[in-house]
Amino acid sequence: MFRVGLVGCGTIGSVHAQGYTRMEDVELAGIVEVREDHGRAMAQLFHTTWYPTIEALFEEAEVDVIDICVPTYLHRGYVETAARAGKHVICEKPMARTLADAQAMIDVCEENGVRLFIAQVLRFFPQYRKAYELLQAGAVGQVGTVRTTRGGVFPTSWNDWYASAENSGTLIVDMIIHDFDFLRWCFGDVRRVYAKSLRGRDLNRLDHAFVSLRFENGVIAHVEGTWAYPSGFQTRLEIAGTGGVLEHVGDEEMPIHLSLRERIGRSEGVAVPESPLAKDPYQLELEHFLACIQSGAEPIVTARDAYEALRISLAALESAATGRPIELEVRS
């Protein structure tokens, strides 16, 4: 039986909360939220208690694991508090806004003998897992080029924190870090990064980035991220090799399309595509992390992996800012 304390219950926090309520042998011990009304509403929805601070949670509830779903720039502080209280930590991606923060998080968890898991969830998405497995099986031969696309409309959030490059690191740190982690999983370390983005162009909630990656193994990858669409969200993945091409187009892999006639009083949009799964990837991910705590096993994605993905994001950000390609030093 795990007792999980959730810190931050916005967009992704509520997905995690939902996941925990669906698990057997897991109790959502409490929700820590700065917004009292919202926190109370979430606590009610997920049959648990709202706490204004993590200290209040620790005082009143028994907790084994802290799950951190606050905005990125706040991750480190909560990880440190949780680790020092002897709690295992699950923390949303991107791990942190800076490498110094990320390293401090790894260190504090090591020093306090607790586990640290970073929710690089793409490795738990069935379509990306499938692509990974096909690659391992040599389905496309030797890989030459890879292309990924991720994004849609500019995200809305508490305090509009995504709009602050200082806090979110733009979509390069916040969103396409998913693809960086996935690609590292598939192809190993990155040698060189070059990027262009719309950051700093005085645009009203519009951002778009092209990142060029060269892997140590020679693979050339194009990673595209967008917060410039009028609506929606989409992902694409294409892996081209000497013996095949694997194409994933998220929009085209939806088993359900519901189209409703317009009626007065029905606000719902026109067509709603759906792709239901027996278990959503977030729940799979959280279950995996808890199982790793139980067994002591290494997770599918380690905190070090998350650190390396952040390193690629920050290199891309630096390249976009300076106009120069960034060579990543090889780590042992």
């Binding site: 030459g144 080029t145 070059y194 020679g218 095949g244 120069r324 390609p325």
Partner: protein, 327 residues
């Protein structure tokens, strides 16, 4: 109007030949080729005369030429044709060096003949429509563009650097860069590229790459020119451009007008395209410009030069590891 074709080295000569035969008022007069067997075979196929290599064709009383030699021979043929006062439609890339391209442009200007670069994609109805939508400001100001022009290794002289001047990056950069220039009305200012040979063993030219671009007006772009489609891919490749604007986004997939054929005969699935043939639209446009004695063609030699410049800058960037500035 009498029109001839110089060389069937480039396979597009066949679709241009078909186009010539279908346009009213045009006489597909003769074929020149430095390879007699290839020239004769084409002549037999289209029921026209084979006259030998290109000087023989230049000596004839014809108005215009379509040049489909190997890339490295464009300059020699085009300059000679200009001196012989023939209007010219030249296959892309316009040349393999900037000096050659410039000399071609100068020669045509001095003789007062038209030099059109064969960028047929501009004439595709879907592309024309996109140009209109952009002119109407439907997506607002363009901020970013993502292009692809993937394909398969064409083999033959295309992979002999002395004749082609380069591999996938030269072959498949120019069409989309031309579209991007046309759409934005701006020139590429900076090019960064990763280029390699990763799909074919012991190829003497590159077969893949990734270009990251910035235009003079600040638009950012990327382009993938790789010969990365496997043999069993359902079609030869693609031409796509996605445009991100201040008011919306627009995605263009030029060859999307296709249906799927799943066939036990071929053993796989193929795209069966039912869209318009842009090569014949290109040839018709060129013929119209000649017939109407226009002062300049709708796609100029200069357009060919600008696109070539970007491809060559990509090679320079991949060699130096640094972005390359143009202009």
């Amino acid at each position: 109007m009498k029109v001839g074709i110089v060389s069937f080295a480039h396979m597009h000569a066949h679709s241009y030949a078909n186009a010539l035969q279908s346009i009213k008022g045009v006489e597909f007069a003769a074929i020149a080729d430095d390879l007699p067997e290839r020239g004769q075979a084409a002549a037999d196929q289209y029921g026209v005369r084979y006259v030998g290599d290109y000087p023989a064709l230049l000596a004839e009383d014809i108005d215009a030429l379509i040049v489909c030699t190997e890339n490295a021979r464009h300059a020699e043929v085009v300059i000679a044709a200009a001196k012989a006062n023939k209007h010219i439609l030249c296959e892309k890339p316009i040349a393999t060096t900037l000096a050659d391209a410039q000399a071609m442009i100068v020669a045509c200007r001095e003789s007062g003949v038209l030099l059109q670069t064969a960028f047929p994609v501009r004439f595709h109805p879907a592309v024309q429509r996109v140009k209109r939508l952009l002119e109407q400001g439907r997506v607002g100001r363009i901020l970013a563009m993502r292009g692809t022009n993937r394909g398969q290794n064409p083999g033959g002289w295309f992979v002999d650097p002395a004749l082609s001047g380069g591999g996938a990056v030269l072959d498949h950069t120019v069409h989309v860069v031309d579209l991007m220039r046309w759409f934005t009305g701006s020139e590429v200012r900076e090019v960064y590229a990763e280029i390699d040979t990763r799909f074919h063993d012991s190829l003497a030219v590159d077969d893949c790459g990734l270009l990251t671009l910035e235009f003079a007006n600040g638009v950012i772009a990327s382009h993938d020119p790789s010969w990365s489609r496997c043999a069993s891919y359902p079609t030869w490749g693609d031409v796509t451009v996605e445009i991100i604007g201040t008011e919306g986004t627009l995605s263009l997939d030029v060859f999307r007008q296709h249906m799927l054929l799943h066939s036990d005969l071929s053993g796989h699935t193929t795209h069966e395209n039912w869209g318009d043939d842009m090569d014949s639209l290109l040839v018709a446009d060129f013929i119209r410009s000649v017939a109407e004695r226009k002062a300049s063609p709708s796609v100029t030699g200069e357009d060919g030069l600008r696109a070539l410049e970007v491809a060559l800058a990509a090679y320079e960037s991949a060699t130096s590891g640094q972005p390359v500035r143009i202009g």
